[in-house]
């Protein structure tokens, strides 16, 4: 359990809990994304017209947006956990949290902008 405690203490209890909850959600969302993109799409990948038609469905748009937000959150919390594991101090962590929040917001903004550009 040495590694488990290391992960939890390094990320902080709330960071770890958010990482765990987003991870559980991701198992479902990645599964849906993978099946929809690779197993259901004709030929294994969608053409431009198929991508646009797929994203125009409100439920799919909601699921893909949720996927984008959850995967970005989980990924950036993971980056923070690794940096803390490598010995990042509390002051640097404060700066890092803001930096990762900005990167996260930019990532989600980029993804949403791209999605809207396709479905317009």
């Amino acid at each position: 359990m040495e590694q488990m405690e290391q992960i939890k203490m390094g990320s902080g209890r709330w960071g770890w809990l958010l990482q765990a909850v987003s991870g559980i959600l991701l198992v479902v969302l990645v599964g849906l994304h993978w099946v929809a993109q690779h197993f259901l799409a004709a030929g294994g990948l969608r053409t431009y017209a198929d991508v646009a038609a797929y994203l125009r469905q409100p439920v799919i748009f909601g699921l893909e947006t949720a996927f984008l937000i959850v995967v970005t959150t989980h990924a950036l919390l993971g980056v923070r956990a690794i940096l803390l594991d490598l010995g990042l101090g509390p002051r640097a962590d404060h700066v890092l949290r803001w930096a990762l929040a900005l990167v996260g917001a930019a990532t989600v903004g980029y993804g949403l902008d791209l999605t809207l550009a396709v479905i317009r």
């Binding site: 359990m1 559980i24 993978w34 197993f39 431009y48 017209a49 990532t107 791209l114 550009a117």
Partner: protein, 118 residues
């Protein structure tokens, strides 16, 4: 980070930790690569469909299979870590790791066959 690569420490838990960290780093890099590639959609049908034709090649499919393996081991081992973090299954943590690893390999093989058949 040296601890991650210290091969003298060979417990299943430590291997699980290393695999989780390394697959996680790979998946973060892939996430941003994937988002950058999706930018080709801005080029319209001509540009995207040309990319899709390339992405259906065996080389890209093989890379997708490796990605699937990384997603599976990170996801299934992540579920194991979550269980352990909530104090569940502590006595079976090694066995749970082997179950996660075996399931990942089996599902990766099944996924590879399904993707190459399409």
């Amino acid at each position: 980070m040296k601890r991650w690569f210290d091969l003298r420490r060979r417990s299943a838990g430590l291997w699980a930790f290393r695999l989780h960290r390394l697959s996680g780093i790979g998946l973060v890099l892939y996430l941003y690569l994937h988002l950058a590639v999706l930018n080709q959609l801005r080029g319209g049908p001509g540009r995207w469909d040309a990319f899709v034709a390339l992405a259906r090649s065996p080389l890209f499919l093989a890379l997708d299979v490796i990605l699937l393996g990384g997603v599976l081991i990170h996801g299934l081992n992540g579920l194991r870590l979550t269980l352990l973090g909530f104090g569940r299954g502590l006595r079976w943590q090694k066995q749970l790791f082997w179950v996660a690893l075996t399931l990942s390999v089996v599902l990766m093989g099944w996924g590879a066959v399904a993707m190459f058949r399409r």
